[in-house]
């Protein structure tokens, strides 16, 4: 199992605002994911994601035929909800791999806001 991690804060600013930023990130993801089994996208230090970014991110990522096991790590509740909201509006794009979005956290306290919303 070959795993790699992309820390978004090393590539983009703390607020993810534009479609172009999403396209740049997905380009890095696709480059990094060659010959990998699993890729962790670390959102540490990212404080905001715009709908435009989320929409472009989803569009660029999920129209690929490439199969990759991807985990979103240390994403805040706001970012998770934005990704989810955009994902629910995408009806014509192929599922990237599976039905589920997968998130991981370094500490249990990061999960608190998310678990409270269930």
């Amino acid at each position: 199992m070959v795993t790699s991690e992309i820390k978004i804060s090393t590539i983009l600013p703390p607020t993810l605002d534009t479609r172009e930023a999403a396209t740049r990130l997905v380009k890095v993801i696709k480059e990094e994911s060659k010959n990998l089994n699993k890729l962790e996208i670390d959102f540490s230090g990212i404080i905001f994601m715009s709908r435009s970014f989320a929409d472009q991110f989803h569009k660029d990522l999920y129209t690929s035929e490439q199969s990759l096991d991807m985990v979103f790590k240390n994403a805040s509740l706001d970012i998770i909800e934005m990704l989810r909201a955009v994902s629910n509006t995408q009806t014509k794009r192929k599922a990237f791999k599976k039905t589920y979005q997968v998130f991981s956290f370094n500490t249990i306290s990061q999960l608190e806001d998310i678990s409270f919303s269930w």
């Binding site: 989810r84 589920y100 956290f105 249990i108 678990s115 919303s117 269930w118």
Partner: protein, 309 residues
């Protein structure tokens, strides 16, 4: 002597007792085998099945790994003291301790309560064991039906959900017992049920099955495989739909909530959310822990058969 103070109460939302359970597991990882660990529940005022069933199972898990750990049960507040007495905390009731004809009489004690006691059901395969277990679980199911006073379609749905989870314990846990606890919240409109074991994780199950052992190598992949219905039953019978059908029946059919936790990964499935969460490796459940929130009013036209696949 590290003492971990347990929560006094829980919020109503589905996730709060689960978060507190994960917090507890996190806290325990800071303890060593040299410590005498005390889980201090003296000041508890209100508890919740999703949390309270985990406590004796955590004690068993940790004892198996050589830890010295206890739960203090000298509750100060009468309400919780009474509840814990009736649910037979921490050990629950074990059918082998009673004559079979005594089950209905035993469970009769609970017919006017809104909860059933902790049920510790044997997982063995011998005929005697299976007969005892089947009779016992049937009595438990009937008690739940009586307590909750559900419509026919909901009764079928409730039984389907419980039986699928219980059967997964029987077939996969490879441990002595499975455990069940349920509470009916009439004013809130739902039943909370937890069904658990401390045997094999889902990954352990796939690891022992040649067809998947090379492909399913992490707890996350095991969870995904289980949720997709990849069966570990042999004879080319592609069963393994219990979890996926249960989730759909509960969430899409009833607008309920489903939580399944094994290893360091869990899946949370509601009408709004269907996520897999990977925890730090030390936040670990050896076995499988399933929590269900089942609304007691079904949407019009609800037919459980639509979800059996």
């Amino acid at each position: 002597m590290p003492t971990i103070v347990l929560p006094e109460r829980f919020a109503d939302n589905f996730g709060h007792p689960l978060q507190k359970l994960l917090d507890l597991l996190d806290e325990l990882t800071k303890c060593s085998k040299r410590d005498e660990i005390i889980l201090n529940y003296r000041n508890g005022k209100f508890t919740h099945p999703f949390y309270v069933l985990a406590l004796p199972l955590i004690v068993k898990q940790y004892e198996r790994n050589g830890f010295n750990i206890t739960v203090s049960t000298d509750f100060i507040h009468q309400g919780i003291r009474e509840y814990m007495y009736y649910i037979k905390f921490p050990h629950g009731i074990y059918p082998n301790d009673f004559p079979q004809e005594g089950f209905p009489a035993l469970l009769e004690l609970y017919k006017n309560k809104s909860y059933i006691p902790i049920i510790s059901f044997p997982t063995g395969e011998g005929q005697d064991v299976t007969i005892i277990r089947d009779n016992f679980l049937s009595a438990v199911n009937r008690l739940l039906i009586h307590i909750c006073n559900l419509s026919n379609s909901l009764v079928t749905g409730l039984m389907y959900l419980i039986d699928e989870a219980v059967n997964n314990v029987l077939h996969h846990s490879k441990d002595e017992c499975g455990y069940l606890l349920a509470q009916y919240y009439r004013s809130k409109g739902y039943i909370d049920i937890v069904i658990a074991d401390i045997g094999q994780t889902i990954l352990d199950t796939y690891s022992n099955f040649e067809k998947y052992s090379a492909e399913v190598v992490t707890h996350k992949l095991a969870m995904e495989a289980a949720l997709q219905g990849k069966s570990t039953k042999s004879l080319d019978i592609d069963r393994g739909f219990g979890i996926s059908t249960s989730k759909r029946l509960l969430t899409e059919g009833l607008n309920g909530k489903y939580f399944i936790y094994s290893g360091n990964v869990f899946n949370i499935h509601t009408l709004d959310v269907n996520d897999i969460i990977e925890l730090p490796e030390n936040i670990f459940w050896q076995g499988v822990y399933v929590c269900l929130r089942i609304p007691i009013v079904a949407p019009a036209g609800f037919n459980p058969a639509n979800y059996y696949e």
